[in-house]
Structure formats: structure tokens, C-alpha cells
């Protein structure tokens, strides 16, 4: 493990240098929010604002991703034969990712990297990415990572973690991948014991700054079918307008759709993010839709996150407590409130 201290300028400079050679994705100020983007000449990463508008899940799982290409030219020998689209899996770096977002990849991994089936694109993308995390010194009012199993200083899913110490960053490697990166970057000064003590203090303060929580302690005991049939689903969530804002901004929502597109004689098979909020998500070809009603779709989203996922994988809830869905929702459907209703439910 390497633990070093970098002056802020030095660290930014090191990242800028890294960005010249490889793809570095970091939050950049984009007006009202900062957004993750690939650093280009002149971009200055914004390590101050705590939450980007959208999570960086698209780095590993792009919103639209070409899977296969094919020709529909009847003259051609290759007519109708699918070929894998060419991909660039060169090493890339995500800097300034918050512990909650980094942890989300670990929660999503169990879906794409299973004992029976492997999703090649997700896995290749994930494995070629090095995550340089930025610990949160202070939580936002909508953050509740500590009650989902994470922490503002959490290291799960990170290769390197950095802590803002005022005028410098304390940089620590978590994995071998991270150690390799820090060796390449070089520079910095060895971390002193004073610094380590200060980090511990900062961590304590950061954890204490998380004021909000999600209550899910009872959910394990409750029966899936009982919760499913609970009466609050129908009554409480009339306000939802079924936009996909929550699912698209959520770092742990992974559902996708597969679409074929043809331009002239060239075809593409593309996968796109999909959302359980859309009626089309489950509509059968025959016209029947098992989740025809708004409340059924809401129920699916929250049951999946808070009940099905924890029961199936035993990794806790499928939520890292970033609070983005709470902020984005135009109708103020708040996952903390939904969890409370579910948690307090008794038959």
C-alpha cells in the first residue's frame, strides 16, 4: 500500500499529464451541476462539488452501446451474420468518483458477471477502468450512504482513494491496480502520522455529517409476497408520473433494452438503458402487459432495490444512498419514505 501526500496543484498536474496519454474521466463543472466527462486539454476537474448530476455508471455501462454490426446486403456472403462491434478497452481512469458511486459498480457486478453468464462489454469495461476515488468530507442533505452499507470514506470498489486535506490531497492505494498507478504517477511526499490522524478525524466528521438514513432492517423478515400485496403501493404513489429520471440517474439501475437499427444495408444491434418506469418495458408482443398500472411499476422499482436484490444476493440493498433519485424526482417520490413504509409494514 502506498500512502502519499500531494499538493493540490501537483495532483491536478499529474492527472492532466495522465489525461494526455490515456482516457481520464472526471467531474467538470457544467453550470448548475458538475458532470463526468473525458478530460480534454484545458478541462479542470472539479473535486469540490460533491455530487455529479448523473452517476458515472455510463463509463462502464454506456447509455447506448453498439453490440453487433451486420450487413443486410443480399449479395454479400456475410448477409445477416452478426459480428461483434470493435471496442477500445485501453486502460482508462475515473478520477474524483465518490465512494458511493464506486461501490455501485460492485453491486451491479453480480448482475453482469455471474457464474453462468458473463456480459463481455460490462466486464471488459469494468476491468479496464481504474477508479480514483474522492472521499466526501461532508455529506449533502440527501446523502444516506452510511445506512446502505457504504461510508463517505468507503474504499469498496476503489483502486485509489484521495482525501481533501485543505491544501493537499492524501492519496492512498487500495488495490494493486491503484498501487501501479501511483507508482507511475510518482512524486508526492510520504504521508506522515499527523496526516493519518487528521484523515481519521476527517472521516469521523464526515460520517457524522450524514444526517439522513434509509430504514431497511425489517425487510429481511417480511415475506416477498406479503410486501408485494401491501395496500400502500396503490394509495401512496399516485403522484409518480413514470418518467425514467430516477432510473437513469441511479448508479445501480442496470436494466437495458436491445434494439436493431438499419441504415440502408448496414445494421447495428444496440443496447440502451431502459427503465422499469416505462409501460413498454414489460409489454408482451401480444399486447398483454403484466405491469400495466403505474403502481405496479413503482412497486417493481422499489421491491427490486430493497427486497428482491438483497434476498437474492445477500449483499444488502441495491442502493448506495447517493440521493440522486430523490433530487431528480419532479413528484418528490422519496426512496427513504418508500423504504420506511415497506419497513413498517405488517400484514
Amino acid at each position: 500500500m502506498i500512502e502519499k501526500s500531494y499538493k493540490k496543484d501537483e495532483w491536478q498536474g499529474a492527472l492532466a499529464k495522465l489525461a494526455k496519454e490515456s482516457r481520464v474521466i472526471a467531474p467538470v463543472n457544467g453550470g448548475t451541476h458538475s458532470v463526468f466527462k473525458t478530460l480534454e486539454e484545458g478541462d479542470v476537474p472539479d473535486f469540490k462539488s460533491s455530487k455529479t448530476r448523473l452517476s458515472p455508471k455510463s463509463v462502464v455501462f454506456p447509455q447506448s452501446e453498439r453490440m453487433f454490426e451486420y450487413s443486410l446486403d443480399e449479395e454479400s456472403e456475410e448477409n445477416g451474420i452478426l459480428k461483434e462491434a470493435k471496442k477500445d478497452y485501453a486502460e482508462k481512469f475515473v478520477a474524483g468518483i465518490r465512494p458511493c458511486d464506486a461501490r455501485s459498480f460492485k453491486l451491479v457486478q453480480v448482475n453482469f458477471d455471474t457464474p453462468t453468464y458473463k456480459d463481455p462489454w460490462w466486464i471488459n469495461n469494468y476491468e479496464s477502468t481504474t477508479f480514483i476515488g474522492q472521499a466526501c468530507n461532508k455529506a449533502c442533505s440527501t446523502c444516506f450512504c452510511t445506512s446502505t452499507g457504504g461510508s463517505p470514506f468507503g474504499e469498496e470498489g476503489l483502486d485509489v482513494v484521495t482525501v481533501d486535506m485543505g491544501d493537499s490531497f492524501l492519496v492512498k492505494s487500495v488495490t494493486d491496480k491503484g498501487e501501479k498507478l501511483l507508482n507511475t504517477i510518482g512524486g508526492g511526499a510520504d504521508a506522515t502520522d499527523d496526516m493519518k490522524t487528521k484523515v481519521a478525524e476527517l472521516e469521523k466528521a464526515a460520517v457524522a455529517s450524514v444526517k439522513s438514513e434509509i430504514k431497511t432492517d425489517n425487510l429481511k423478515e417480511l415475506k416477498e409476497t406479503d410486501l408485494f400485496e401491501a395496500d400502500f403501493w396503490k394509495d401512496t404513489f399516485d403522484g409518480c408520473i413514470n418518467c425514467g429520471g430516477c432510473t437513469f440517474s441511479c448508479p445501480t439501475c442496470w436494466c437495458f433494452d436491445i434494439q436493431d437499427e438499419v441504415q440502408k444495408k448496414e445494421g447495428d444491434r444496440i443496447r440502451n438503458w431502459d427503465s422499469c418506469m416505462f409501460p413498454l418495458f414489460t409489454k408482451h408482443g401480444m399486447g398483454h402487459n403484466p405491469r400495466d398500472q403505474k403502481f405496479q411499476r413503482i412497486r417493481q422499482r422499489f421491491m427490486h432495490k430493497l427486497k428482491y436484490y438483497p434476498d437474492k444476493y445477500d449483499k444488502g440493498i441495491m442502493c448506495v444512498g447517493c440521493g440522486r433519485c430523490v433530487e431528480v424526482c419532479p413528484a418528490n417520490i422519496d426512496i427513504r419514505r418508500v423504504a420506511e413504509l415497506m419497513n413498517n409494514y405488517s400484514k
Binding site: G239, N272, P330
Partner: protein
């Protein structure tokens, strides 16, 4: 407008208690500053949860489409125009509705306010014509009129156009504002500039369809983006597909959009969606002297014609 709250609760209670309505639709305090939670309540006890302030921007007309019960609904100027459009388009019957009119002085643009302070806003309080925002280490007061949503700044119908009762006296309509100054500015631009605007504006779209779903008039059972035979628009984030979606969505609003701003408010990536619909509104006004939803009797703009309609662009 905060002083409407008591009257609204009282009205809701009365209507629910005497059985005039089965359901009352209003707002309840949200869990975050600047957001209220639409409340669809069925009994008088819940009426005490209802509130009114300058954050009631999600259009309640969304919840009326195809309902069959008797409903009391709060309606500001733009909301009432949406109700009028619903009545015109037979999405609900007039006798089902008790429209409780709310004279409105505009809704606060939370993005603008957030941009004016340094730090996270934890609390918003409203008193009289002012709002005060508080964070960990700051407190700032704004005149509500200075931080209104852009559509509210130039609103032409602040008072409900149809209602059964009002919760307060009508407010004065805005005087001497040019509703379409921004559209005029764009009209003066070259084609290249216009195209550039169009590309830039919709570049960040994530195709979550929040704009469509937040719009009270987007109620088609199957939206054209979801149609598969034929498939009009691709579903990826390809820029051409995104632009096609927004162009067609806007066009479906022609002669219907009431400029309520629900689409912009709902957009998670701050796209100024009214860029297109406002142009259509302006054309409707300029060419046909038509404003959507200002009354129930008129037919919708594209549902009628005059033999003398503009013809000079047709050979």
C-alpha cells in the same frame, strides 16, 4: 401565496365531507426544499396535509387524464388552461370536476436560486412576497418575483380561466411584458445559428422522457417513440434520434401547449424544452390569434380551420 393554504384545506375538507368530490388533488410538503409532492387524497382528514407555496410547479392536470371519479383540483392560470384542453379533448368531463382556482404569482425557479448561493440549500421559507433560503453557513432572502421560472416571468394568464371557486381574489395580470422576446431573438438569427442552438440545447438529453411524462397534454396511449411498426425514431442516444424526438414531441404540442413549464421543471439535465413549444405558441398567436386553453368552447387550433387561413406559402 402561502396564505392560500388555510383556504385550500378548508375547501378540500368541505368538498370531501359533503361528498361533492371523491378525490381532491393538491400538493403536500415535499421532503426537499423547492419540491412539493402531488397529493391525491380521498378523505377529509388528509386535507390538513395540503399546502400552497411557490414550489407547486408540477402540473396537477397530469392526474386528471381518463379518471372516472369526481375530483376537486387546484388550478392556477396555466393549470386551468390545461384543464380546458383536457375538456376539449374529452379526457375528462366537466361535471366530474370542481375546479378550485388559485390566482398565481408564479413559481420559483429552484435552479436559478441554487445558482445564486454558495452551498447546499437546506431550507426554504416563504413569507409574503419573499423567500428565504438557508444553508449551513448562509441565509439569503430573495424577492419571489425576481427568481421566478422563465415561463412565469412572462405569464399571460396568472388567474384561472375556468374555475368553480377561487381561493383568493384575482391577482393583477402582468403588464407590458413581451412574452416572446426570446423567440424573436432566435427568429432574427441565421439558419446556421438556429441549427447550432438546436443541436446544443438537446445534446445533453438522456432520453428519460421526463418532459413527455410531466406534460399534462402528453397522454397518448402509445407515444410515437414507443411505436414499433414502423419505428419512427431510434431509441439510442444518437443525436439525430434525440433531435427528432424533441422536434416531434414539440410539434404534437402545437396549439395545445399552455407554457406551464412542467417539462422544463422535470428535466433532470436542465434542457430548456420550451425553446420549441414557445415558437409554436407564438405562431399560433401571430398567425391565428389563438391561445390554447383560454376557454372550453373553442375547438383546438389544429382541429378546426378557416377558409381564409394563411395560404401564401402554398403554390
Amino acid at each position: 401565496m402561502v396564505n392560500y393554504t388555510d383556504k385550500i384545506r378548508e375547501t378540500a375538507k368541505r368538498l370531501l365531507n359533503d361528498g361533492t368530490v371523491d378525490t381532491f388533488i393538491g400538493y403536500r410538503k415535499g421532503s426537499l426544499p423547492f419540491v412539493n409532492n402531488p397529493a391525491i387524497i380521498h378523505n377529509a382528514e388528509e386535507a390538513d396535509e395540503l399546502v400552497w407555496d411557490s414550489n407547486c410547479a408540477l402540473n396537477l392536470c397530469n392526474y386528471l387524464t381518463n379518471r372516472t371519479d369526481k375530483i376537486g383540483v387546484l388550478a392556477t392560470g396555466c393549470n386551468s388552461r390545461n384543464i380546458a384542453m383536457h375538456l376539449k379533448e374529452n379526457k375528462i368531463k366537466r361535471e366530474q370536476l370542481v375546479i378550485v382556482g388559485v390566482p398565481c404569482t408564479g413559481m420559483v425557479d429552484h435552479r436559478a436560486v441554487k445558482g445564486m448561493v454558495d452551498g447546499e440549500i437546506l431550507e426554504v421559507t416563504e413569507a409574503g412576497e419573499e423567500i428565504t433560503v438557508k444553508g449551513d453557513d448562509f441565509e439569503k432572502t430573495f424577492k419571489t418575483a425576481d427568481v421566478l421560472q422563465t415561463n412565469c416571468q412572462t405569464c399571460a394568464h396568472r388567474n384561472p380561466v375556468i374555475f368553480d371557486e377561487l381561493v383568493a381574489d384575482e391577482v393583477p395580470e402582468l403588464d407590458g411584458v413581451n412574452q416572446y422576446a426570446d423567440v424573436e431573438a432566435v427568429e432574427a438569427q441565421s439558419d446556421e445559428e438556429k441549427w447550432q442552438n438546436f443541436e446544443n440545447i438537446f445534446e445533453s438529453c438522456i432520453r428519460c422522457y421526463a418532459c413527455r411524462n410531466a406534460c399534462p397534454l402528453c397522454y397518448c396511449p402509445t407515444c410515437f417513440v414507443d411505436e414499433s411498426k414502423p419505428q419512427w425514431v431510434g431509441k439510442s442516444t444518437d443525436p439525430t434520434d434525440t433531435m427528432t424526438f424533441h422536434f416531434l414531441r414539440a410539434f404534437h404540442m402545437a396549439g395545445r401547449c399552455t407554457d406551464c413549464g412542467a417539462c422544463e421543471r422535470a428535466c433532470p439535465v436542465d434542457i430548456p424544452l420550451r425553446y420549441l413549444t414557445k415558437k409554436l405558441n407564438k405562431d399560433a398567436k401571430d398567425i391565428y390569434d389563438y391561445e390554447s386553453g383560454t376557454n372550453v368552447e373553442d375547438k383546438a387550433l389544429l382541429d378546426t380551420y378557416k377558409p381564409t387561413d394563411l395560404n401564401d406559402f402554398i403554390r
